[in-house]
């Protein structure tokens, strides 16, 4: 009785196409998004389709359990699974919120200057949250400190004051699709740039910036 879900995914041309996923595949995607978000230093593309579909699945299952007979064991097994899925979903969303709070001026700037057709890093709710957070921070700083400063020091440029995500930090990854000719730039000036191939199934420790587009495309999985 595994139903298939109509899942609105994006194909490589940026157009939407319906990708049919089983619930198991959906949970797999959620877990992949969760791990990528956990290990990436910057806020990744928002995945509203995954979040919505998972919430639908959980609600659906909740409904079924309410209507089901009082079969303690079966019900408790379903509930345990739902708790596990809820944990991954909340952890994923919490991780994103933490990054939004940490990098809010940069996240908002990125959203403002985002080209048409490029997917957003923020869901509508996250965007509203980020904006409110910015306004609240500005008001707080003004009321607690800035308005007591000499007149020429009453402005603070949050974009300059708040650190940017460190895209040069190192991450572990597993390769899902073979990649060729990835340019690696070493830290020292004595070492020259070199090019590597990433074989499918191999694992590496590498600077995030080098492989950031591969995370977005799903070619590698952060571990």
């Amino acid at each position: 009785m595994t139903e298939e879900l109509d899942f609105l995914g994006q194909d490589s041309d940026g157009g939407s196409e319906e990708v049919v996923l089983t619930p198991a595949e959906l949970i797999e995607r959620l877990e992949q998004a969760w791990m990528n978000e956990k290990f990436a230093p910057e806020l990744l593309e928002s995945k509203p389709e995954i979040v919505e579909c998972v919430m639908e699945q959980l609600e659906h299952m909740e409904e079924n359990l309410r209507r089901a007979k009082r079969e303690d064991l079966k019900v408790s097994i379903h509930q345990m699974e739902m708790e596990r899925i809820r944990y991954v979903l909340s952890s994923y969303l919490r991780c994103r919120l933490m990054k939004i709070e940490k990098f809010f001026p940069h996240v908002l700037e990125k959203e403002k200057t985002r080209p048409e057709g490029e997917p957003s890093s923020l869901s509508p709710e996250e965007l509203a949250f980020a904006r409110e957070f910015m306004v609240n921070t500005e008001t707080y700083l003004k009321n607690v400190a800035l308005k007591h400063m000499p007149p020429n020091l009453q402005k603070v440029d949050l974009f300059r004051a708040v650190p940017k995500p460190d895209l040069d930090s190192y991450v572990f990854l597993r390769v899902r699709e073979r990649q060729e000719n990835i340019l690696v730039e070493p830290d020292t000036d004595e070492q020259r740039d070199y090019v590597i191939d990433l074989e499918k199934g191999s694992q590496h420790l590498i600077r995030y910036k080098t492989i950031a587009p591969l995370v977005a495309s799903g070619a590698v999985q952060l571990i």
Partner: protein
Amino acid sequence: MDAAEVEFLAEKEQVTIIPNFSLDKIYLIGGDLGPFNPGLPVEVPLWLAVNLKQRQKCRLLPPEWMDVKKLEKMRDHERKEETFTPMPSPYYMELTKLLLNHASDNIPKADEIRTLVKDMWDTRIAKLRVSADSFVRQQEARQRGEHHTPGLCHCTPALSQKQTNKRKTKTSNQ
């Protein structure tokens, strides 16, 4: 990622149980399980296996690699090789801990197994320290991590952090 989260991922691994109850097939979101019949082996994810065992509803079967002779061979191989060797499961450490803590009565020579797995872990941690040191000192831009298990990558924040910190110190000194 902390150890608890690695364990959470490890709990998805399939293990075989022998239930003492009957239940029709269940259709979980993540896949179908069962049907369950007393005395007949069935594969379930570790999180369910441990829970059923705690409720005294099943017996756990150790995975095929959880055997003293096999583990001895693996441990000796790991000690001999300078690089990391393949592990029987990406979550061998977590599986061993959970199975031995909850079902040591179902696993023959549990103590020996615990010691052997700990030896393999210690050897690998030592190798990780050596490779991390050389990675940072030589300021490598990239390192292969074949046969690194998730538990190993995240047992200390050290490896990925060390390289990042070294680079930060260097650029701030310039």
